[in-house]
Amino acid sequence: MKQYHVGQLNFPDPKEVVAEIGLAERNNNDEPYGYTHEFEQELSTRLRVKNVIAVGNGTYALMIALKALNLKGEIIVPSFTFVATIQAIIWSGLKPVFCDVEHESHMISTNTVRAKITQNTVAVMGVHLWGSHCYNDDLASLCEKHNLTLLFDAAHAFGSETHEGSIAQYGQMACYSFHATKILNAAEGGCIATNNDAFAERVKNLVYDNDDFLNVRMSPMQSAIGRLSLREYSNNAAHNKASYFRYINKLCECRSLSVVECSTTLKESNYQYLVIEIKLNSGFNKLDLMKYMRKKGILIRDYFSPPIHKLNFAEKYISAEDDLSNTDNLSQCLVQFPIGQKIRLDDIDWICDQVLSFEKSLLTY
């Protein structure tokens, strides 16, 4: 039975990969990290940001960025995120303070952040979800007023742009992931993007010049795969966009769920996530849907369930008064569907037919 995976799985041509790895390793001999620096330049151009520093994975990007900021204290962060966001904060010696997200956007807002600011707060880490973003001028003003560093986990949002420009320009920095399931794939990998030259220098020093520090560098091999993937970015994003609208068109008939749509402030998105929200009281059960679809080889996944504040290691960062009700609700009703290069438009038609059949079977019952 054919299986339909979530995750991008955009693999550059294997012959090109082998040739490019050879080239990368030769170039790196001529100039240490020379090939990786070329990749960083290309990323900088693509992200329209002055400085990019590539590292071994997205978690390292967050850890190094936080280390370079040299902060001590509390950092406000949503619980509705991938576990790496919170783990990076803890590894960096900071204390995560969970704030709720907006039910509509699934992301933090000025209101949810404001409620959590104390005298111990030193930073706010927003998480751009589903190829969209959570920046706005009010949030930046709030952080400025309280002298807080604003930074973003942009693992979901490579290439996304608002009408004002790239989302990489927002806050002190944005940290990206090039995991194999992302639209930009370096097998593993990540980067820190920033317009702040002084901060970029501190990050570069930690990554490239400091023997006393952890080795978090991106290898020439990863850079080679990443560069090839970057060359295919526009085609892959276009394919995702077509797939996204196909899902919207096909699933508009479905009364029990809806496709989570991109923010209207976006000019461009990578459309690398196709997230479905199950409507409350619709009779649809997330786990039943997942079980039904898995039997058909459609490997849909729930996101982010359970939310981080419900995990044992995070318990000590939460108190009984914390209201994370939107986070709790969303973790019950969001599922990710297959999208990416391996998923053709007729695959999507078939997948959507299965969803409609499932709904029909519930209604009949």
Partner: protein
């Protein structure tokens, strides 16, 4: 133009032609046919990372190499040390005893693990921690000892084992420079509670990047598997455990497997070259190549040039600059003088043998060292030209 050094002005640092070309000292290129085989496998399976089959194959081969029950590969060796140390963090304490002779990143590694380094004095002649010092520093807060196996000699493994058994404190060995070494004819990898090795392109296996932990402890194995993958266990994508992303991807694992296939012939080759270096010692007055302990089967991928004549770190730095300008690749760790720690050997430079790589080049290097040795006092005095060339 000749590369042979007849006068001081022939030295590259003084404007002469470098003894080696950059190409000559480049990393061994990957065998593209072998790499293609693995890349095709990766594509067939559609698995680029996340504990893939090539990673598991690599782990199983490494377990055979070391004769240990478990090997857990990670994205690099420093993170392998962080994870291993953090596995021993407990409510009882947070102190880790480390030797005063440590690699540059040691303090940082201990701190990332959320622990506190307690620095132990080392025996001056061998640069290793002795049991009496360990006993002196061990408190109720001690959670582990982190010791180093050097490139030329091992730490006091039997003493550490006895200490660990008696005190009930786990000992972790940094063996990143000790791949293939033996103690009492037993290959390293099963000494102490856990050992950490490197798969970096600079080390003898010549992977792309990576590290691993060898251990016989099943409990530690499962802890590390979970820690390297965000605390996840098995196929579950959420977990109550703490962790981070320290996964080795399938491409890096493939590169390490290719390196592992040829590692023994590579070691034999390095050892033969090292014999040439050691034999040449009789020609030098101010320096000598350091012989690795003959009982430990050192991979000899680095050779240490020791200054016999006092000259301090200035002489060490000058020698390093002269060699670097001849396009000789040096190990970084021994170039810096560390204010809080000291290195062993104190006044040495660390030459990467893999960048010399054949007998002809080894003989050229020996001849160069002979020239430097003969003119050493003048080279030390010749501050202006050396500084100028470096700048």
């Amino acid at each position: 133009m000749t590369q042979e050094k007849r006068t001081l002005s022939d030295l590259a640092i003084n404007g002469g032609v470098s003894l080696f070309s950059r190409e000559k000292t480049e990393n061994s290129a990957v065998d593209s046919e072998k790499l293609s085989f693995f890349v095709n496998k990766i594509y067939e399976r559609g698995i680029f990372t996340n504990d893939g089959p090539i990673v598991r194959d690599l782990e199983s081969k490494l377990e055979k190499v070391h004769g240990c029950r478990f090997c857990i590969v990670t994205s690099n060796a420093s993170i392998a040390l962080v994870l291993t140390l953090s596995a021993f963090k407990s409510c009882k304490g947070d102190e880790v005893i480390i030797p005063e002779i440590y690699y540059a990143s040691f303090l940082d590694i201990v701190q990332w693990a959320g622990l506190k380094p307690i620095i132990a004095k080392c025996c001056p002649s061998r640069g290793v921690i002795e049991t009496s010092e360990l006993n002196r520093l061990t408190t109720s807060k001690t959670v582990a000892v982190l010791a180093i196996n050097h490139a030329t000699h091992l730490c006091a493994l039997d003493d550490l084992e006895s200490y660990s058994d008696a005190a009930g404190i786990p000992v972790i060995l940094d063996s990143v420079r000790a791949f293939g070494m033996t103690h009492n004819s037993r290959v390293l990898g099963t000494f102490a509670t856990a050992e950490v090795f490197s798969l970096s392109s600079e080390k003898v296996v010549q992977g792309a990047q990576g590290g691993y932990v060898s251990t016989n402890s099943e409990k530690l194995y499962f802890q590390l598997k979970s820690l390297r993958n965000f605390g996840f266990e098995g196929l579950h994508r959420h977990s109550d455990n703490f962790g981070l992303n320290a996964k080795l991807n399938e491409f890096h694992a493939a590169r390490a497997l290719i390196g592992l296939d040829r590692v023994q012939s590579q070691i034999n080759h390095y050892q033969a070259l090292t014999v040439l270096f050691i034999k040449s010692n009789c020609h030098f007055n101010h320096m000598r190549f350091l012989a690795p302990d003959i009982h430990i089967n050192s991979p000899c991928d680095h050779v240490f040039l020791i200054l016999k004549t006092p000259g301090g770190t200035d002489a060490q730095s000058k020698l390093a600059r002269v060699l670097t300008s001849e396009n000789i690749k040096l190990g970084k760790h021994y170039l810096k003088h560390y204010p809080s720690g000291c290195y062993w050997p104190e006044y040495s430079v660390n030459i990467s043998v893999k960048h010399i790589n054949d007998e002809e080049s080894a003989l050229k290097l020996i001849k160069l060292v002979q020239f430097i040795d003969k003119n050493f006092e003048q080279i030390l005095l010749n501050k202006t030209s050396a500084t100028k060339s470096i700048s």
